[in-house]
Amino acid sequence: MNVLVLTENLFQAVRVAAAASLPGVRVHVLLCRNRKSRLVMLLGLARALARLCAAPPLWPTAASLALRRALRYFPRVDDPRALDFLRRVNPDVGLHGMDVIYKPAVLDCFARGILNPHIGLLPEFRGRSVLEWSLALGAPVGVTAFFIDAGVDTGPDILRFTPVDVRSAPDLNAAKKRLFDQAPAIFRDCLKRLSAPHPVFLPNDVAKGRRYYAMSALMRDVAEACLRLENEDAKRPS
């Protein structure tokens, strides 16, 4: 299986590539800056290199990517040179890690599709601020891995929902980081499932859910208070 990591963060790219390195899986990386400025991207690269130097378990993966020339940088994911690279790699599966909505020309390069670790329960919570809405409404918190289409969290095939316990997180940002940190392990599990003879998908029935938008400060405060509530419940002896 040809797998391509789509990312704007070098350290995250190597982490995901390491997690995706399974028997029968060949990993490539496409690094882009997309909407980031050159300066922000360069600072990010410097920070990523420093973090990589401090993470010896990731060195073999980084070396393998470099030796195989399997990591390429282009300014934008829809840059014609990036599209040429994608077509040459001919990936089966993409692992999403970019702050973009992919155009059809990019989506069409993947035989199976691009997997997105969405930090909310699908089909119920599509769109933005879904962790905050889940906490405010008392809904399950976790990550849904599904194949992207051109819409906002409307791709029809869900691979799995992974509940994540965020109760001990001190605030919403820490809770969100805990969800994002699950991505490498979730991708690894998804690739194992996709390697099985008959992978099972759940339908992403958008009629059963709602699209959410960037949340107000008022509701964010409510979500934060609900997180503290769960935090106190978790500390209480059962």
């Binding site: 709602r210 699209r211 938008y213 960037a214 107000s216 509701m219 208070a225 509530l229």
Partner: protein, 126 residues
Amino acid sequence: MDVRRRAILAAALRARLADVSARPETGAAPGALPAPGPDADAEEALRRLMVSVVPRLAAGGADMDELCHLLAVVATAARPDDLRFLDAFHRVYELGAAGLPRGALPAAFHQAYRRLLAATLEDLDG
């Protein structure tokens, strides 16, 4: 939403209602958002409002007539079991409070927002 979450939400809405009620625009001459048409689609109005108009409002370039028209449609769907529609009003109000010139948001908005907050609180308390 469980009882404790409803209490947290109600406390936040009560504080906001007090804030909105204290604004001079809210007590201004009666005004109303334009009446939505019979085939108005609240979900589509919410999408346009949040994806297009609110970012333009934040940048200081929104068309107030379009904003009021979309808010009027969104208001028809605001209810406690779907807080997204009321949240759109929260967002617009917060933008108005944070950075827009005084009086940029029409009195009709503040009055409609106050009515929605009061109605939601009544539902939550009931």
